[in-house]
């Protein structure tokens, strides 16, 4: 096929060719954008500016409430509520992220004041049975990590609810451990309620102008002053200083403990926050902080090395540092080490004689890590293209079987690979299918 024909074919496949945006929605967006004051320097956050007066009032109110709570806590009056329920993310030691590995959950030595006062923020690190490390943040009370019954959480009961270790109830952030079994992970998270609670029942961060969640009453959105930006992570034992810029001022903090833990907490408007140099919206995780999503400008290390986060070219990894001590997980397997005969047959399923394709093979390589899975991918030329991954432990010699739907007659074909991912995959996801177990093809009549 000529390259011109390729371009013609590509243009014809444009998925948005026939899409016409809703005019009323566009006009509403225009109105909201124009109501946002401009800063000719281009460095001010318009939404924050527009709401400054409300924010001041809300922060003052929150401050008063938090000070009251802090005063109560100081004299031991803040009441304990029931512990938060585990999320179920770490329920099974042999599948998904795995389960809490005993003895790995520990509070890290950071305690950071909330902008509105009250209980300090802290952070916990834990490891799982499937080679994953997780960071949980929350409020601290007597050496325990928990969340507060406010901002809609726990019926606004004002109590402290402990986050049970291994429950990941508070919206933990997880990534694959490196080859030495250590976690190197940094997170920038906007829209975290001041309660610390990121599960069901808490308030929802407002959407940008023009956006709303259908069916969600206005009272369920977080109000100004109820949200925080959390910038945190573990940089390894050699990190000695984290420098960041917020509000035009430069700060340097010292990472804590052998994990090199740091935590920065600031107030957040709830809308995507453009700080000029970087924008925060949602949660972003990566091995090292990224200049377009973090206020961090540089990290100093024990050997005199200084990693300039600013030097990373936006949208790429050029200039990005590899943190000292980090050893990437590398997959060294070839096709010949994993290739195995694939048994494929059409089977009748009850009821009503529905048919399916049973694909099975005997695994030659065991899988024990969350970052690895045997994956079956049917070609998109098949009447029904299905992708599935084991996402559980597989022993060498174990037979792996998938039942794939075959609702229509035709030739179903595909391949099985051993997908291997590094730790963690960052910052731009690139898919590497890994070594090939084999291909299959079967006709369904």
């Amino acid at each position: 096929m000529s390259t011109d024909a390729v371009m013609t074919r590509l243009a014809a496949a444009d998925p948005a060719r026939d899409i016409v945006p809703d005019r009323d929605g566009a006009e509403a967006l225009l109105e909201l954008v124009l109501s946002s004051p401009r800063d000719r320097s281009g460095h001010q956050v318009p939404v924050a500016g527009r709401r400054r007066r409300g924010l001041v009032v809300a922060v003052a109110l929150s401050l008063a409430l938090a000070l009251a709570a802090a005063a109560l806590a100081a004299v031991g009056v803040i009441r304990l509520g029931s512990p938060a329920r585990p999320s179920g993310a770490l329920a099974n030691p042999r599948q998904g992220l795995g389960a809490l590995r005993p003895g790995t959950a520990r509070l890290l030595g950071v305690a950071v004041a909330d902008p509105a006062g009250g209980l300090a923020w802290g952070m916990r690190l834990l490891g799982t049975t499937r080679g994953v490390g997780c960071l949980e943040v929350g409020r601290l009370l007597d050496g325990r990590l928990g969340v507060l019954g406010r901002d809609g959480a726990f019926g606004n009961d004002g109590r402290f609810h402990e986050l049970p270790p291994g429950g990941l109830s508070g919206g933990g952030q997880c990534a694959n451990l490196d080859a030495n079994g250590r976690l190197f992970y940094t997170v920038s998270a906007a829209n975290v309620p001041a309660s610390g609670w990121q599960g069901q029942g808490g308030c929802t961060a407002p959407l940008p102008p023009g956006g709303r969640i259908v069916g969600l009453p206005a009272s369920r959105y977080c109000r100004a002053g109820e949200l925080r930006e959390l910038v945190y992570g573990v940089l390894g034992p050699d990190a000695t200083g984290v420098t960041y810029t917020l509000g035009g001022r430069q700060h340097t903090i010292k990472p804590v403990g052998p994990e090199g833990a740091y935590l920065i907490v600031t107030a957040h408007s709830g809308l995507p926050t453009d700080h000029g140099r970087y924008t925060l919206a949602g949660a972003i995780g990566s091995i090292m902080p990224l200049p377009w999503s973090s206020p961090i400008t540089s990290i100093a290390y024990r050997d005199g090395m200084r990693c300039l986060i600013d030097a990373t070219k936006p949208g790429t990894l050029k200039g990005q540092c590899t943190p000292p001590g980090y050893r990437p997980v590398t997959a060294r397997l070839s096709d010949s080490q994993v290739v195995s005969p694939i048994d494929v047959r059409v089977v009748a399923m009850t009821p009503a004689g529905r048919r399916a394709i049973r694909v099975s093979f005997t695994a030659r390589i065991a899988v024990r890590k969350a970052g690895s899975s045997y994956e079956v991918a049917e070609n998109t030329s098949s009447p029904e293209a299905v992708f599935e991954a084991t996402q559980r432990n597989i022993n060498a010699g174990q037979t792996v079987t998938w039942l794939l739907p075959a609702p229509k007659p035709g030739v179903y074909s595909g391949k099985i690979v051993l997908g291997l991912s590094g730790a963690p995959p960052y910052p731009i996801y690139t898919y590497s299918p890994g070594p090939l177990v084999g291909r299959f093809s079967v006709r369904v009549r």
């Binding site: 496949a13 998925p15 060719r17 124009l34 023009g210």
Partner: protein, 181 residues
């Protein structure tokens, strides 16, 4: 009522380009996030529209490009294979997900990010080499070379896809190792 010139200028810019920006974003992020990313693009544009020199569309798409990239980076890292493919710059819309485009989708997914971006800016967003070069921030000549190479690579990837489609099972014997991953 006095309406400032800058408001009028921006209103004109918005109305002339909103649809193009919207479609650009639709092609690159999942449906649920489109409104957010478009809104973020125009908020940034409103704040900085004094920076515009020449045609505003490449400038706006440059902002949208960064907004899309920020959004995609924030998505969950551990995703299943299906989601990974869906995360390629093609939302799972009905036309794109259809069988006849499957081969093309896989071929596109096999390309590098820069190649894919060059192709889509021209084929889908309808930009000239000069406009597309402004979006990605390089010289027109550099972009032209990148596009030329990307076209060749896509043609090659499509040929390989056809080869894959006709290949059968490749069984092998033995179970020699007990490595753990």
């Amino acid at each position: 009522m006095v309406v400032s010139d800058e408001r009028l200028v921006f209103e004109g810019l918005f109305r002339a380009n909103h649809a193009a920006v919207y479609r650009y974003v639709v092609r690159r992020v999942e449906e649920a996030a489109v409104q957010d990313v478009v809104a973020e693009t125009f908020l940034v544009a409103w704040r900085r529209h004094e920076e515009i020199a020449g045609d505003p569309l490449p400038w706006l798409l440059g902002i949208a490009r960064r907004a899309c990239a920020n959004h995609l980076r924030g998505r969950e890292r551990r995703v299943a294979l299906g989601e990974r493919l869906a995360a390629q710059p093609c939302p799972a819309r009905s036309s794109w997900g259809s069988r006849e485009h499957g081969e093309l989708k896989r071929a596109l997914a096999a390309l590098g990010d820069a190649d894919r971006e060059a192709l889509l800016l021209v084929a889908w967003d309808g930009l000239s080499n000069r406009e597309a070069a402004k979006v990605v921030g390089c010289a027109t000549a550099t972009f032209a070379v990148r596009l030329h190479r990307a076209r060749g690579r896509l043609a090659g990837a499509l040929e390989r896809e056809r080869g894959d489609r006709t290949a059968g099972s490749t069984p092998a014997e033995g179970m020699a190792t007990s490595d753990v991953h």
